[in-house]
Symmetry: C2
Subunit: 276 residues, 2 copies
Protein backbone atom coordinates (compact mmCIF):
# COMPACT_ATOMS: atom_id res chain seq x y z
CA UNK A 1 0.00 0.00 0.00
CA UNK A 2 1.50 3.30 -1.09
CA UNK A 3 3.61 2.84 -4.24
CA UNK A 4 6.33 5.42 -3.54
CA UNK A 5 10.05 4.60 -3.64
CA UNK A 6 9.78 1.83 -1.03
CA UNK A 7 6.36 0.48 -2.03
CA UNK A 8 7.13 0.24 -5.75
CA UNK A 9 10.63 -1.17 -5.10
CA UNK A 10 9.01 -3.77 -2.86
CA UNK A 11 6.66 -4.77 -5.68
CA UNK A 12 9.56 -5.10 -8.13
CA UNK A 13 11.72 -7.05 -5.66
CA UNK A 14 8.88 -9.45 -4.72
CA UNK A 15 8.17 -10.14 -8.38
CA UNK A 16 11.83 -10.55 -9.31
CA UNK A 17 12.46 -13.01 -6.51
CA UNK A 18 9.10 -14.75 -6.99
CA UNK A 19 8.15 -14.40 -3.35
CA UNK A 20 4.43 -13.90 -3.87
CA UNK A 21 1.88 -15.33 -6.29
CA UNK A 22 0.04 -12.05 -6.60
CA UNK A 23 0.78 -8.40 -5.76
CA UNK A 24 -2.07 -5.99 -5.09
CA UNK A 25 -1.51 -2.23 -4.84
CA UNK A 26 -3.56 0.36 -2.99
CA UNK A 27 -2.86 4.05 -3.47
CA UNK A 28 -4.61 7.24 -2.39
CA UNK A 29 -4.25 8.86 -5.80
CA UNK A 30 -6.01 7.45 -8.84
CA UNK A 31 -3.06 8.56 -11.03
CA UNK A 32 -0.62 6.45 -8.97
CA UNK A 33 -2.89 3.43 -9.29
CA UNK A 34 -3.08 3.85 -13.05
CA UNK A 35 0.71 4.07 -13.25
CA UNK A 36 1.04 0.87 -11.21
CA UNK A 37 -1.45 -0.93 -13.46
CA UNK A 38 1.02 -0.53 -16.33
CA UNK A 39 3.89 -2.06 -14.34
CA UNK A 40 4.74 -5.72 -14.87
CA UNK A 41 5.14 -6.34 -11.16
CA UNK A 42 1.59 -5.21 -10.32
CA UNK A 43 -1.19 -7.81 -10.60
CA UNK A 44 -4.15 -5.92 -9.12
CA UNK A 45 -4.97 -2.39 -8.07
CA UNK A 46 -7.56 -1.17 -5.60
CA UNK A 47 -8.66 2.24 -4.44
CA UNK A 48 -10.57 0.84 -1.48
CA UNK A 49 -8.59 0.02 1.65
CA UNK A 50 -11.06 -2.66 2.70
CA UNK A 51 -10.98 -4.36 -0.67
CA UNK A 52 -7.18 -4.03 -0.90
CA UNK A 53 -6.48 -6.07 2.23
CA UNK A 54 -9.06 -8.78 1.49
CA UNK A 55 -7.61 -12.32 1.52
CA UNK A 56 -3.98 -11.17 1.76
CA UNK A 57 -1.24 -13.21 3.45
CA UNK A 58 0.84 -10.10 4.00
CA UNK A 59 -0.02 -6.40 3.99
CA UNK A 60 2.86 -3.88 3.91
CA UNK A 61 1.89 -0.27 4.60
CA UNK A 62 4.32 1.96 2.68
CA UNK A 63 2.50 5.29 2.88
CA UNK A 64 4.35 8.43 4.04
CA UNK A 65 5.01 8.16 7.78
CA UNK A 66 2.32 10.68 8.76
CA UNK A 67 -0.38 8.49 7.20
CA UNK A 68 0.76 5.11 8.53
CA UNK A 69 -1.15 5.22 11.82
CA UNK A 70 -4.51 6.20 10.33
CA UNK A 71 -4.07 3.60 7.58
CA UNK A 72 -3.40 0.90 10.16
CA UNK A 73 -6.40 1.97 12.21
CA UNK A 74 -8.57 1.53 9.14
CA UNK A 75 -7.20 -1.77 7.85
CA UNK A 76 -6.46 -3.76 11.01
CA UNK A 77 -10.16 -4.27 11.86
CA UNK A 78 -10.80 -5.41 8.26
CA UNK A 79 -7.97 -7.93 8.02
CA UNK A 80 -8.56 -11.64 8.51
CA UNK A 81 -6.79 -13.16 11.53
CA UNK A 82 -4.25 -15.04 9.43
CA UNK A 83 -2.98 -11.89 7.69
CA UNK A 84 0.36 -10.51 8.81
CA UNK A 85 0.44 -6.72 8.69
CA UNK A 86 3.57 -4.63 8.75
CA UNK A 87 4.75 -1.17 7.72
CA UNK A 88 8.00 0.52 6.67
CA UNK A 89 7.97 3.58 8.93
CA UNK A 90 11.30 4.95 10.21
CA UNK A 91 10.00 5.54 13.77
CA UNK A 92 8.19 2.68 15.50
CA UNK A 93 7.05 3.54 19.06
CA UNK A 94 3.85 5.37 18.26
CA UNK A 95 2.98 3.28 15.17
CA UNK A 96 3.31 -0.01 17.05
CA UNK A 97 1.28 1.34 19.97
CA UNK A 98 -1.56 2.48 17.69
CA UNK A 99 -1.49 -0.81 15.77
CA UNK A 100 -1.53 -2.76 19.02
CA UNK A 101 -4.56 -0.84 20.26
CA UNK A 102 -6.36 -1.39 16.96
CA UNK A 103 -5.59 -5.14 17.15
CA UNK A 104 -6.73 -5.66 20.74
CA UNK A 105 -9.39 -8.32 21.08
CA UNK A 106 -8.61 -9.51 17.57
CA UNK A 107 -6.06 -12.08 16.53
CA UNK A 108 -4.68 -9.86 13.74
CA UNK A 109 -0.92 -9.77 13.86
CA UNK A 110 0.84 -6.46 13.31
CA UNK A 111 4.62 -6.35 13.66
CA UNK A 112 6.49 -3.17 12.77
CA UNK A 113 9.30 -3.20 10.20
CA UNK A 114 11.91 -0.63 9.31
CA UNK A 115 13.72 -1.59 6.13
CA UNK A 116 16.65 0.86 6.11
CA UNK A 117 16.72 1.09 2.36
CA UNK A 118 15.77 4.68 1.70
CA UNK A 119 17.61 6.89 -0.72
CA UNK A 120 18.03 10.60 -1.22
CA UNK A 121 15.75 10.03 -4.20
CA UNK A 122 12.07 9.42 -3.66
CA UNK A 123 9.02 8.41 -5.68
CA UNK A 124 8.04 5.46 -7.85
CA UNK A 125 10.21 6.68 -10.74
CA UNK A 126 13.33 5.93 -8.68
CA UNK A 127 12.16 2.49 -7.55
CA UNK A 128 14.30 -0.58 -8.25
CA UNK A 129 14.22 -4.27 -7.46
CA UNK A 130 17.65 -4.19 -5.77
CA UNK A 131 16.83 -1.48 -3.22
CA UNK A 132 16.69 -3.92 -0.30
CA UNK A 133 19.71 -6.07 -1.10
CA UNK A 134 22.29 -6.25 1.69
CA UNK A 135 20.50 -3.53 3.62
CA UNK A 136 19.42 -3.71 7.25
CA UNK A 137 15.82 -4.30 8.31
CA UNK A 138 14.85 -3.87 11.95
CA UNK A 139 11.60 -5.56 12.95
CA UNK A 140 9.97 -4.51 16.20
CA UNK A 141 7.71 -7.19 17.71
CA UNK A 142 6.23 -6.92 21.21
CA UNK A 143 7.16 -9.71 23.65
CA UNK A 144 3.59 -11.00 23.38
CA UNK A 145 3.83 -11.56 19.59
CA UNK A 146 3.82 -15.11 18.24
CA UNK A 147 7.23 -16.48 17.27
CA UNK A 148 5.71 -18.10 14.18
CA UNK A 149 4.48 -14.73 12.86
CA UNK A 150 7.77 -13.04 13.78
CA UNK A 151 9.75 -15.66 11.88
CA UNK A 152 7.43 -15.44 8.86
CA UNK A 153 7.99 -11.69 8.70
CA UNK A 154 11.75 -12.10 9.16
CA UNK A 155 11.94 -14.63 6.36
CA UNK A 156 10.01 -12.26 4.07
CA UNK A 157 12.63 -9.52 4.49
CA UNK A 158 15.46 -12.06 4.23
CA UNK A 159 14.06 -13.31 0.93
CA UNK A 160 14.46 -9.73 -0.31
CA UNK A 161 18.16 -9.90 0.59
CA UNK A 162 17.98 -7.97 3.85
CA UNK A 163 19.86 -8.50 7.12
CA UNK A 164 17.18 -8.64 9.78
CA UNK A 165 17.51 -7.47 13.38
CA UNK A 166 14.91 -7.61 16.17
CA UNK A 167 14.44 -4.79 18.65
CA UNK A 168 11.56 -3.52 20.80
CA UNK A 169 9.84 -0.44 19.30
CA UNK A 170 11.33 1.70 22.09
CA UNK A 171 14.91 0.48 21.57
CA UNK A 172 14.52 0.80 17.82
CA UNK A 173 13.67 4.49 18.14
CA UNK A 174 16.64 5.16 20.42
CA UNK A 175 19.01 3.34 18.07
CA UNK A 176 17.87 4.98 14.82
CA UNK A 177 17.99 8.43 16.41
CA UNK A 178 21.78 7.93 16.66
CA UNK A 179 22.55 5.90 13.54
CA UNK A 180 20.10 7.46 11.09
CA UNK A 181 18.26 10.62 12.20
CA UNK A 182 21.27 12.32 13.80
CA UNK A 183 23.49 11.68 10.72
CA UNK A 184 20.79 13.25 8.53
CA UNK A 185 20.64 16.31 10.73
CA UNK A 186 24.44 16.60 10.79
CA UNK A 187 24.66 16.27 7.00
CA UNK A 188 22.03 19.01 6.68
CA UNK A 189 23.89 21.28 9.09
CA UNK A 190 27.07 20.93 7.03
CA UNK A 191 25.20 21.71 3.81
CA UNK A 192 23.50 24.64 5.57
CA UNK A 193 26.92 25.93 6.69
CA UNK A 194 28.09 25.96 3.06
CA UNK A 195 25.03 28.01 2.07
CA UNK A 196 26.68 31.04 3.72
CA UNK A 197 29.90 30.57 1.70
CA UNK A 198 30.58 31.83 -1.86
CA UNK A 199 28.91 29.50 -4.36
CA UNK A 200 32.21 28.92 -6.19
CA UNK A 201 33.36 26.87 -3.17
CA UNK A 202 30.77 24.23 -4.02
CA UNK A 203 32.43 23.57 -7.37
CA UNK A 204 35.60 22.61 -5.55
CA UNK A 205 33.94 20.22 -3.10
CA UNK A 206 35.61 16.82 -3.25
CA UNK A 207 34.35 13.28 -2.68
CA UNK A 208 34.61 13.62 1.11
CA UNK A 209 32.21 16.55 1.21
CA UNK A 210 29.86 14.83 -1.24
CA UNK A 211 29.69 11.64 0.81
CA UNK A 212 29.32 13.44 4.13
CA UNK A 213 26.37 15.50 2.88
CA UNK A 214 24.72 13.03 0.47
CA UNK A 215 21.77 12.18 2.72
CA UNK A 216 20.95 15.87 3.20
CA UNK A 217 19.25 15.60 -0.20
CA UNK A 218 16.45 13.49 1.28
CA UNK A 219 12.84 14.69 1.04
CA UNK A 220 12.59 17.57 3.59
CA UNK A 221 8.90 17.01 4.44
CA UNK A 222 9.44 13.28 5.01
CA UNK A 223 12.51 13.88 7.17
CA UNK A 224 10.77 16.58 9.18
CA UNK A 225 7.99 14.05 9.93
CA UNK A 226 10.57 11.45 10.98
CA UNK A 227 12.36 13.92 13.26
CA UNK A 228 9.04 15.08 14.70
CA UNK A 229 8.06 11.47 15.47
CA UNK A 230 11.37 10.81 17.18
CA UNK A 231 11.97 14.24 18.66
CA UNK A 232 12.90 13.32 22.22
CA UNK A 233 15.41 10.66 21.25
CA UNK A 234 16.88 12.91 18.61
CA UNK A 235 17.33 15.77 21.11
CA UNK A 236 19.18 13.35 23.41
CA UNK A 237 21.38 12.06 20.57
CA UNK A 238 22.17 15.63 19.52
CA UNK A 239 23.22 16.51 23.06
CA UNK A 240 25.38 13.39 23.40
CA UNK A 241 27.05 14.00 20.04
CA UNK A 242 27.61 17.67 20.88
CA UNK A 243 29.91 16.46 23.67
CA UNK A 244 32.09 14.71 21.04
CA UNK A 245 32.16 17.92 19.00
CA UNK A 246 33.06 20.00 22.05
CA UNK A 247 35.86 17.58 22.88
CA UNK A 248 37.49 17.74 19.45
CA UNK A 249 37.02 21.50 19.33
CA UNK A 250 38.84 21.96 22.62
CA UNK A 251 41.69 19.67 21.50
CA UNK A 252 42.10 21.82 18.40
CA UNK A 253 41.98 25.08 20.35
CA UNK A 254 44.43 23.80 22.97
CA UNK A 255 46.73 22.39 20.25
CA UNK A 256 46.76 18.96 21.90
CA UNK A 257 47.95 17.16 18.79
CA UNK A 258 48.63 13.76 20.35
CA UNK A 259 45.14 13.72 21.82
CA UNK A 260 43.65 14.86 18.51
CA UNK A 261 45.48 12.04 16.68
CA UNK A 262 44.10 9.59 19.26
CA UNK A 263 40.58 11.00 18.81
CA UNK A 264 40.80 10.66 15.01
CA UNK A 265 42.32 7.21 15.40
CA UNK A 266 39.52 5.98 17.71
CA UNK A 267 36.94 7.34 15.27
CA UNK A 268 38.71 5.65 12.33
CA UNK A 269 38.87 2.30 14.17
CA UNK A 270 35.19 2.47 15.02
CA UNK A 271 34.23 3.28 11.44
CA UNK A 272 36.38 0.45 10.09
CA UNK A 273 34.27 -2.04 12.03
CA UNK A 274 31.46 -1.34 9.57
CA UNK A 275 31.74 -2.75 6.09
CA UNK A 276 32.14 -0.40 3.09
CA UNK B 1 58.86 12.20 -4.94
CA UNK B 2 57.23 10.10 -2.20
CA UNK B 3 55.47 7.06 -3.69
CA UNK B 4 52.51 6.81 -1.27
CA UNK B 5 48.88 6.70 -2.41
CA UNK B 6 49.11 9.98 -4.35
CA UNK B 7 52.68 9.63 -5.60
CA UNK B 8 52.30 6.08 -6.91
CA UNK B 9 48.84 6.84 -8.40
CA UNK B 10 50.42 9.83 -10.13
CA UNK B 11 53.10 7.57 -11.65
CA UNK B 12 50.48 5.12 -12.89
CA UNK B 13 48.23 7.85 -14.29
CA UNK B 14 51.11 9.64 -16.08
CA UNK B 15 52.23 6.36 -17.67
CA UNK B 16 48.70 5.32 -18.64
CA UNK B 17 47.98 8.64 -20.31
CA UNK B 18 51.48 8.89 -21.78
CA UNK B 19 52.06 12.36 -20.39
CA UNK B 20 55.77 11.98 -19.72
CA UNK B 21 58.63 10.27 -21.50
CA UNK B 22 60.26 9.17 -18.29
CA UNK B 23 59.20 8.92 -14.63
CA UNK B 24 61.81 9.10 -11.88
CA UNK B 25 60.97 8.27 -8.26
CA UNK B 26 62.65 9.49 -5.11
CA UNK B 27 61.76 7.95 -1.75
CA UNK B 28 63.18 8.25 1.74
CA UNK B 29 63.03 4.50 2.34
CA UNK B 30 65.15 2.09 0.33
CA UNK B 31 62.37 -0.53 0.55
CA UNK B 32 59.89 1.86 -1.14
CA UNK B 33 62.39 2.55 -3.91
CA UNK B 34 62.89 -1.18 -4.50
CA UNK B 35 59.11 -1.69 -4.69
CA UNK B 36 58.83 1.13 -7.25
CA UNK B 37 61.62 -0.36 -9.34
CA UNK B 38 59.41 -3.40 -9.96
CA UNK B 39 56.49 -1.28 -11.15
CA UNK B 40 55.97 -0.83 -14.90
CA UNK B 41 55.26 2.88 -14.51
CA UNK B 42 58.61 3.62 -12.87
CA UNK B 43 61.59 4.25 -15.18
CA UNK B 44 64.25 5.36 -12.73
CA UNK B 45 64.74 5.46 -8.98
CA UNK B 46 66.98 7.69 -6.91
CA UNK B 47 67.75 7.94 -3.22
CA UNK B 48 69.46 11.30 -3.62
CA UNK B 49 67.25 14.40 -3.73
CA UNK B 50 69.78 16.32 -5.80
CA UNK B 51 70.12 13.53 -8.36
CA UNK B 52 66.35 12.94 -8.43
CA UNK B 53 65.50 16.47 -9.60
CA UNK B 54 68.31 16.67 -12.16
CA UNK B 55 67.09 17.59 -15.68
CA UNK B 56 63.39 17.21 -14.82
CA UNK B 57 60.66 19.20 -16.59
CA UNK B 58 58.32 18.72 -13.64
CA UNK B 59 58.92 17.76 -10.01
CA UNK B 60 55.90 16.77 -7.87
CA UNK B 61 56.56 16.51 -4.12
CA UNK B 62 54.16 13.88 -2.72
CA UNK B 63 55.73 13.29 0.70
CA UNK B 64 53.57 13.40 3.83
CA UNK B 65 52.55 17.01 4.53
CA UNK B 66 54.99 17.44 7.45
CA UNK B 67 57.96 16.75 5.17
CA UNK B 68 56.93 18.88 2.18
CA UNK B 69 58.52 22.14 3.37
CA UNK B 70 61.93 20.68 4.20
CA UNK B 71 61.94 18.73 0.91
CA UNK B 72 61.18 21.91 -1.05
CA UNK B 73 63.92 23.82 0.82
CA UNK B 74 66.39 21.14 -0.25
CA UNK B 75 65.37 20.72 -3.89
CA UNK B 76 64.47 24.25 -5.01
CA UNK B 77 68.10 25.49 -4.94
CA UNK B 78 69.16 22.39 -6.93
CA UNK B 79 66.54 22.64 -9.66
CA UNK B 80 67.36 24.17 -13.05
CA UNK B 81 65.40 27.35 -13.86
CA UNK B 82 63.22 25.68 -16.46
CA UNK B 83 61.89 23.04 -14.01
CA UNK B 84 58.36 23.48 -12.69
CA UNK B 85 58.04 22.33 -9.09
CA UNK B 86 54.77 21.58 -7.34
CA UNK B 87 53.47 19.53 -4.40
CA UNK B 88 50.24 17.83 -3.37
CA UNK B 89 49.82 19.16 0.19
CA UNK B 90 46.32 19.77 1.55
CA UNK B 91 47.22 23.11 3.18
CA UNK B 92 49.06 25.70 1.09
CA UNK B 93 49.78 28.95 2.97
CA UNK B 94 52.92 27.90 4.77
CA UNK B 95 54.22 25.58 2.02
CA UNK B 96 53.94 28.28 -0.65
CA UNK B 97 55.58 30.84 1.63
CA UNK B 98 58.55 28.56 2.34
CA UNK B 99 58.88 27.63 -1.34
CA UNK B 100 58.74 31.27 -2.33
CA UNK B 101 61.50 32.16 0.12
CA UNK B 102 63.66 29.28 -1.16
CA UNK B 103 63.13 30.44 -4.75
CA UNK B 104 63.97 34.11 -4.19
CA UNK B 105 66.73 35.38 -6.39
CA UNK B 106 66.39 32.28 -8.56
CA UNK B 107 64.14 31.76 -11.54
CA UNK B 108 62.87 28.40 -10.30
CA UNK B 109 59.12 28.23 -10.51
CA UNK B 110 57.21 26.65 -7.63
CA UNK B 111 53.39 26.67 -7.78
CA UNK B 112 51.42 24.80 -5.13
CA UNK B 113 48.86 22.16 -6.10
CA UNK B 114 46.18 20.40 -4.10
CA UNK B 115 44.74 17.48 -6.05
CA UNK B 116 41.66 16.58 -3.96
CA UNK B 117 41.94 12.93 -4.77
CA UNK B 118 42.70 11.37 -1.42
CA UNK B 119 40.95 8.31 -0.13
CA UNK B 120 40.32 6.78 3.26
CA UNK B 121 42.90 4.23 2.12
CA UNK B 122 46.55 5.20 2.02
CA UNK B 123 49.85 3.75 0.79
CA UNK B 124 51.22 2.57 -2.54
CA UNK B 125 49.25 -0.70 -2.35
CA UNK B 126 46.01 1.28 -2.80
CA UNK B 127 47.32 3.39 -5.68
CA UNK B 128 45.47 3.40 -9.00
CA UNK B 129 45.73 5.19 -12.34
CA UNK B 130 42.15 6.52 -12.11
CA UNK B 131 42.54 8.28 -8.75
CA UNK B 132 42.57 11.76 -10.30
CA UNK B 133 39.80 11.36 -12.85
CA UNK B 134 36.97 13.88 -12.50
CA UNK B 135 38.37 15.13 -9.20
CA UNK B 136 39.12 18.73 -8.28
CA UNK B 137 42.64 20.17 -8.26
CA UNK B 138 43.24 23.61 -6.77
CA UNK B 139 46.48 25.27 -7.83
CA UNK B 140 47.73 28.22 -5.81
CA UNK B 141 50.01 30.56 -7.76
CA UNK B 142 51.11 33.94 -6.44
CA UNK B 143 50.16 36.99 -8.53
CA UNK B 144 53.85 37.33 -9.54
CA UNK B 145 53.97 33.85 -11.12
CA UNK B 146 54.32 33.55 -14.88
CA UNK B 147 51.13 32.74 -16.76
CA UNK B 148 53.05 30.34 -19.01
CA UNK B 149 54.18 28.24 -16.03
CA UNK B 150 50.71 28.40 -14.44
CA UNK B 151 49.10 27.17 -17.64
CA UNK B 152 51.67 24.40 -18.03
CA UNK B 153 50.88 23.15 -14.52
CA UNK B 154 47.13 23.44 -15.14
CA UNK B 155 47.39 21.44 -18.33
CA UNK B 156 49.36 18.74 -16.50
CA UNK B 157 46.52 18.18 -14.00
CA UNK B 158 43.91 18.44 -16.76
CA UNK B 159 45.70 15.73 -18.74
CA UNK B 160 45.18 13.52 -15.67
CA UNK B 161 41.43 14.15 -15.91
CA UNK B 162 41.16 16.76 -13.15
CA UNK B 163 39.03 19.88 -12.95
CA UNK B 164 41.45 22.67 -12.15
CA UNK B 165 40.69 25.79 -10.08
CA UNK B 166 43.03 28.68 -9.25
CA UNK B 167 43.07 30.31 -5.80
CA UNK B 168 45.63 32.22 -3.75
CA UNK B 169 47.28 30.07 -1.06
CA UNK B 170 45.39 32.03 1.62
CA UNK B 171 41.98 31.61 -0.02
CA UNK B 172 42.70 27.95 -0.68
CA UNK B 173 43.24 27.31 3.02
CA UNK B 174 40.03 29.11 4.00
CA UNK B 175 38.04 27.17 1.40
CA UNK B 176 39.35 23.70 2.21
CA UNK B 177 38.84 24.25 5.93
CA UNK B 178 35.10 24.38 5.18
CA UNK B 179 34.76 21.89 2.33
CA UNK B 180 37.31 19.29 3.39
CA UNK B 181 38.81 19.59 6.88
CA UNK B 182 35.56 20.46 8.67
CA UNK B 183 33.68 17.53 7.02
CA UNK B 184 36.46 15.19 8.19
CA UNK B 185 36.19 16.46 11.72
CA UNK B 186 32.38 16.16 11.67
CA UNK B 187 32.54 12.61 10.32
CA UNK B 188 34.99 11.73 13.10
CA UNK B 189 32.76 13.30 15.75
CA UNK B 190 29.81 11.19 14.58
CA UNK B 191 31.90 8.01 14.64
CA UNK B 192 33.24 9.01 18.07
CA UNK B 193 29.67 9.50 19.30
CA UNK B 194 28.81 5.93 18.25
CA UNK B 195 31.81 4.62 20.25
CA UNK B 196 29.81 5.27 23.43
CA UNK B 197 26.82 3.25 22.13
CA UNK B 198 26.39 -0.56 22.31
CA UNK B 199 28.44 -2.21 19.56
CA UNK B 200 25.36 -4.02 18.22
CA UNK B 201 24.10 -0.65 16.94
CA UNK B 202 26.92 -0.56 14.43
CA UNK B 203 25.63 -3.71 12.75
CA UNK B 204 22.39 -1.90 12.03
CA UNK B 205 23.96 1.21 10.55
CA UNK B 206 22.58 1.90 7.09
CA UNK B 207 24.02 3.51 3.99
CA UNK B 208 23.39 7.03 5.29
CA UNK B 209 25.56 6.47 8.35
CA UNK B 210 28.23 4.75 6.26
CA UNK B 211 28.43 7.62 3.77
CA UNK B 212 28.37 10.33 6.41
CA UNK B 213 31.28 8.78 8.32
CA UNK B 214 33.31 7.24 5.47
CA UNK B 215 36.10 9.85 5.51
CA UNK B 216 36.60 9.34 9.26
CA UNK B 217 38.64 6.27 8.24
CA UNK B 218 41.42 8.47 6.87
CA UNK B 219 44.95 8.15 8.28
CA UNK B 220 44.77 9.83 11.75
CA UNK B 221 48.40 11.05 11.79
CA UNK B 222 48.07 12.58 8.31
CA UNK B 223 44.79 14.28 9.19
CA UNK B 224 46.12 15.60 12.46
CA UNK B 225 48.99 17.20 10.50
CA UNK B 226 46.51 18.72 8.05
CA UNK B 227 44.35 20.13 10.88
CA UNK B 228 47.45 21.42 12.68
CA UNK B 229 48.59 23.21 9.50
CA UNK B 230 45.18 24.81 9.03
CA UNK B 231 44.21 25.24 12.68
CA UNK B 232 43.03 28.84 12.66
CA UNK B 233 40.81 28.47 9.61
CA UNK B 234 39.42 25.20 10.93
CA UNK B 235 38.55 26.79 14.29
CA UNK B 236 36.68 29.53 12.43
CA UNK B 237 34.84 27.01 10.24
CA UNK B 238 33.90 24.97 13.31
CA UNK B 239 32.47 28.04 14.99
CA UNK B 240 30.51 29.07 11.90
CA UNK B 241 29.13 25.56 11.43
CA UNK B 242 28.22 25.33 15.13
CA UNK B 243 25.78 28.18 14.49
CA UNK B 244 23.99 25.99 11.93
CA UNK B 245 23.88 23.14 14.44
CA UNK B 246 22.53 25.43 17.17
CA UNK B 247 19.87 26.70 14.82
CA UNK B 248 18.54 23.26 13.90
CA UNK B 249 18.78 22.14 17.52
CA UNK B 250 16.63 25.05 18.68
CA UNK B 251 14.06 24.41 15.92
CA UNK B 252 13.78 20.82 17.12
CA UNK B 253 13.49 21.81 20.78
CA UNK B 254 10.90 24.49 20.03
CA UNK B 255 8.97 22.12 17.74
CA UNK B 256 9.04 24.64 14.90
CA UNK B 257 8.25 22.07 12.23
CA UNK B 258 7.67 24.46 9.33
CA UNK B 259 11.00 26.12 10.01
CA UNK B 260 12.72 22.73 10.33
CA UNK B 261 11.27 21.63 6.98
CA UNK B 262 12.56 24.88 5.46
CA UNK B 263 15.99 24.30 6.99
CA UNK B 264 16.17 20.74 5.62
CA UNK B 265 14.86 21.95 2.29
CA UNK B 266 17.50 24.70 2.00
CA UNK B 267 20.21 22.17 2.86
CA UNK B 268 18.83 19.69 0.29
CA UNK B 269 18.73 22.37 -2.43
CA UNK B 270 22.29 23.40 -1.72
CA UNK B 271 23.53 19.81 -1.80
CA UNK B 272 21.71 19.14 -5.07
CA UNK B 273 23.79 21.85 -6.74
CA UNK B 274 26.77 19.48 -6.49
CA UNK B 275 26.90 16.53 -8.82
CA UNK B 276 26.61 12.99 -7.37
Amino acid sequence: MGPGLLGASLGMAIRKREISKSIRVWARKQSSLQKCKEEVWCDEISSSLEEAVNACDLVVVCTPIMHIEETLQKIIPKCPEETIITDVGSVKGSICKVANESSSGKGTCFIGSHPMAGSEKSGMENANAELFENRTCIITPYPKDSIVEIEKLESFWRLLGMQVHRETPKNHDTIVSSISHLPHLIASSLADHLASCPSSWLEMAGQGFKDTTRIAQGDPALWCEIMKSNRENLCDSLDQWQKSVNEVRSLLHAEKWDNLTQYLSDAAELRKKIKS
